[in-house]
């Protein structure tokens, strides 16, 4: 089996007090993610994308259906430790996931929990910090770093664990544009250089464009699944799911509709868009 994550009719409802109806958040998601893929999961607030991420890491156990991580059923408690070793997670708020008071000790935290020998920890921590470009900050206190830097430290903590898959739950939501760029560069590197499967939960279109595959969640179901080019050219479907499209595509799409010109609208980068516009204006 080549999938690292596979869900079958995955359902999840948050527990509620007695006498109330459970509100289903995931309504039967069937999805499989292959090894080495870079998947962006898009969705409006409340579409269930974060809940889905929690299922991949056994933080949330399915209330219906199954979720397999590397062929292990996440519902089996005996698997939980191995599941979390295979799929690690980076959260939205960088402040609430850094445990230690010094950068390098935080990166070492997971390795210490795994019982890795000290010299090996030292080596892996240094490598991970260099990979995210935070090596010179190794002796700093996390609260003195910027949001983007903190998030890169959190990612270094994940790299050091050497998992097969990383799930990032809106890692750039609380960052400024500069921090977002830094973090996204590291995320791409995770996939390309380290060959780690990356699942990026986001609501930024320009981040999703960088992935190899985009999954769009809407009201607890998978609405669309395909390459960025396939997904983002379906402007009407995306807008119906209250999602915006990348600005490059939006410009071309609106021009296309107004003038009845048949423009190619699949410009994912600014350069591509500029080329098309240049031709159009001539």
């Amino acid at each position: 089996m080549s999938e690292i994550i596979k869900t079958e009719n995955l359902q999840y409802a948050y527990p509620v007090e007695e006498g109330q109806l459970a509100i289903p958040v995931l309504k039967g998601v069937t999805l499989s993610v292959g090894r080495g893929e870079f998947v962006a999961v898009l969705g409006h607030n409340g579409s269930g994308k974060s809940t889905l991420a929690g299922c991949f890491n056994a933080i949330r156990l399915p209330t219906g259906g199954v979720c397999y991580v590397d062929m292990m059923d996440t519902r089996d408690e005996n698997n939980t430790y191995e599941v979390r070793k295979t799929v690690s997670m980076v959260f939205q708020n960088p402040d609430n996931q850094l445990v230690a008071t010094v950068v390098e000790e935080d990166v070492a935290f997971a390795l210490e929990n795994m019982g890795v020998p000290p010299q090996e920890i030292r080596k892996r921590v240094d490598e991970a910090l260099k990979a995210v470009g935070m090596y010179e900050y190794r002796a700093q206190a996390p609260h003195r770093l910027s949001g983007g830097q903190k998030q890169r430290v959190a990612i270094a903590g994940v790299i050091a664990m050497m998992p097969r898959c990383v799930v990032l739950d809106e890692p750039t939501a609380m960052l400024d544009p500069q921090g977002r760029r830094e973090v996204m560069a590291v995320v791409r590197e995770l996939n390309r250089k380290f060959g780690i499967t990356v699942i990026l939960i986001t609501h930024h279109m320009d981040e999703a464009v960088q992935a190899g595959r985009v999954v769009v969640m809407h009201q607890g179901n998978v609405l669309m699944d395909g390459t960025p080019r396939e997904i983002f050219t379906q402007v009407d479907t995306l807008r119906a799911a209250s999602l915006t499209v990348p600005q490059t595509i939006e410009v071309l799409y609106d021009l296309d509709r107004q003038d009845g010109e048949s423009l190619p609208i699949d410009a994912l980068s600014v350069d591509e868009c500029a080329d098309i516009l240049e031709k159009y204006l001539q």
């Binding site: 890491n57 933080i59 430790y81 979390r84 070793k85 690690s88 997670m89 959260f91 708020n93 402040d95 609430n96 996931q97 850094l98 445990v99 230690a100 008071t101 010094v102 390098e104 000790e105 070492a108 935290f109 997971a110 390795l111 210490e112 929990n113 795994m114 019982g115 890795v116 020998p117 000290p118 920890i121 030292r122 921590v125 002796a139 700093q140 206190a141 996390p142 609260h143 903590g157 664990m161």
Partner: protein, 267 residues
């Protein structure tokens, strides 16, 4: 005003004081506190003061920071001084009604103030030069014999280090909430003591709620990073007693002996 709180802060560095084994530092700090209460005469205090000054010098921590650490306990220092000044019996040199100042009172007051200040400086030097993780690590290992009695030593040291980690985060948050409430017209500076205490409620409620939320998220993040308590844990930084540690122990032993000798002669 909140930025002034420096107790429990760590200033990274690479001095000999920073490099000392945390276990040695903790034990020596405790020994130093005992020493402070054994010292009686001005010569002893001068010696202890010089010793502390040398340590601050070696550690390259700016003396300004050290003095600033005293601010939060200024009230306690003044209070102790006043109590000792007026309530020590002895040879009165000034009297008014039930108030009196004795020669012994002045002496005790001065010594108490110096003692308290040195106490705070010594303990804050420990936290300034030792990363909280090292500190809790040292404590955990010093207390590890208690694990056999099922005392939750690891859990306590983990809790301590997380608390220390979140002090700056929560201070920042408090400042944000204060600004937010001020922008909505909250008044924290005027009114009686009771009114001012009541004005703190709109700060404390959001602060607590967010602290709980943070705790919840942190717990999830820790679980994701395979935290299972003390089961099969290793440490990146191994503690080792080096030559520097032995030197420090010997120097402190010498100081201890010197103070004991001086005490004999009442100096």
């Amino acid at each position: 005003m909140l930025k002034d709180i420096t107790i429990g802060q760590f200033f990274p560095g690479d001095s000999a004081v920073h490099r000392l084994d945390p276990r040695v530092k903790i034990v020596l700090t405790i020994a130093f506190i005992v020493l402070l209460f054994l010292a009686e005469g001005p010569v002893s205090y001068a010696l202890v003061l010089a010793f502390l000054a040398i340590i601050i010098g070696i550690s390259r921590i700016s003396p300004k920071l050290v003095v600033r650490g005293l601010k939060p306990i200024l009230f306690i220092i003044v209070f102790t001084a006043v109590l000792n000044l007026f309530y020590t019996p002895g040879e009165y040199i000034w009297q008014w009604g039930f108030l009196h100042i004795s020669r012994e009172g002045i002496r005790t007051a001065i010594f108490m103030v110096v003692r308290l200040m040195l106490l705070i400086i010594a303990t804050s030097m420990l936290t300034y030069t030792t990363s909280p993780i090292q500190l809790t690590d040292g404590l955990e290992r010093l207390l590890s014999p208690l694990k056999k009695l099922h005392a939750p030593v690891h859990e306590l040291s983990m809790m301590m280090s997380i608390a220390l980690r979140f002090i700056p985060t929560l201070i920042e948050e408090t400042e944000k909430i204060i600004s937010a409430q001020k922008a909505r017209g909250a008044d924290f500076e005027s009114g009686s003591l009771v009114q001012r205490a009541k004005a703190m409620i709109p700060i404390l409620v959001p602060l607590f709620i967010s602290a709980f939320r943070r705790a919840d998220e942190l717990a999830t993040a820790m679980e994701c990073r395979l935290y299972r308590g003390d089961v099969g844990r290793t440490r990146m930084k191994q503690l080792k007693i080096t030559r520097v540690d032995i030197c420090a122990i010997l120097i402190c032993a010498a100081l201890f002996a010197a103070i004991l000798v001086l005490r004999r002669y009442g100096l």
